[in-house]
């Protein structure tokens, strides 16, 4: 959960920077991302959720968690495949950047937290993180990555991914309810 907060703040800062929203960690101007950097962020965001799913498949025995994790792995792999196909077509190489690095560093902390848990505590931690992570990614894609994209095909791909992310969020919230009883 902790790892999500900086991303949410960052996305919030991006949305609200014109309103001079104070934020200790992200009070700088809205990040100015190039299309290769946006591609890097998009691929990293998908890969991070695939990695969380792999941990869930290793550690959980709950059918709802395992089914959800498999869906996340399959869907995010499909999105990465689309992104790779597009950047290949456009002749663009995803470019590492501060946002990607920050996401990956935060993901490492979350993976460590998830690996430290087991049983019901793991299931709850995993699905809570999935809800928070998808909320943060939806916000970042809609409010920063899409507006920042210059290439129309990249913008269209990001727009096409949003319904899948929102469906994942609804699905995660549905599973989460089973663990909050």
């Amino acid at each position: 959960m902790k790892c999500i907060k900086p991303l949410v703040k960052w996305a919030g800062a991006a949305i609200l920077y014109t309103m001079v929203m104070p934020s200790p960690a992200f009070s700088q101007q809205k990040p100015d991302l190039s299309d290769p950097e946006i591609a890097s962020v998009a691929v990293a965001a998908n890969q991070i959720d695939i990695n969380y799913a792999e941990i869930a498949k290793e550690k959980s025995k709950n059918a709802d968690i395992l089914e959800f994790a498999q869906t996340m792995a399959n869907d995010h792999k499909a999105v990465i495949a689309q992104a790779v196909a597009l950047v290949t077509k456009l002749g663009v190489t995803p470019k590492d950047n501060a946002v990607t690095q920050k996401m990956q560093a935060d993901a490492e902390k979350t993976k460590k937290m998830l690996r430290s848990k087991s049983g019901a505590a793991f299931n709850k931690a995993y699905i809570d993180n999935e809800v928070a992570y998808h909320k943060a990614v939806i916000s970042a894609v809609e409010d920063l990555l899409i507006p920042e994209s210059d290439n129309n095909e990249l913008k269209e791909l990001l727009q096409n991914v949003v319904p899948a992310l929102k469906t994942h969020l609804m699905h995660a919230e549905m599973v989460q309810k089973k663990f909050s009883k």
Binding site: N74, D75, V79, Q82, N160, P163, A164, K166, T167, H171
Partner: protein, 114 residues
């Protein structure tokens, strides 16, 4: 000879009449079934609710970049199995059904059979 020709003419009229009525009868006995398409795109069944006649055909086609399936929700009476992008699945409607994507369980559709 005249009687023979008249008889043959009458038989011919009778035959034509029988063929005519038979063809009319066939038209009314054989209902014309329609074919409907439900697109799976933007993580939705479009249209989400479809009203058809018994015997009509429904084709679901996956236009999304992720896999979906089409599964009867209450008793899992039928399922398409996973559909890759561009793949389709066909069902002949027999009864009402609530259905969903068992991969993305919040995606739901309804089939109303009249």
């Amino acid at each position: 000879m005249k009687n023979y020709k008249a008889l043959m003419r009458n038989h011919l009229y009778l035959l034509i009449s029988l063929l005519f009525f038979a063809s009319c009868s066939n038209r009314t006995d054989t209902p014309v079934h329609k074919v409907y398409t439900v697109e799976i795109k933007q993580m939705q069944f479009q249209p989400a609710e479809l009203t058809v006649q018994k015997g009509d055909t429904i084709i679901w086609i996956n236009r999304d970049i992720v896999q979906h399936d089409v599964t009867e929700e209450k008793s899992k009476a039928w399922t398409s199995s996973p559909l890759l992008t561009g793949q389709s699945w066909t069902l002949v409607a027999t009864e009402n059904a609530d259905y969903y994507c068992s991969i993305h369980q919040v995606m739901k559709g309804k089939l109303l059979v009249q």
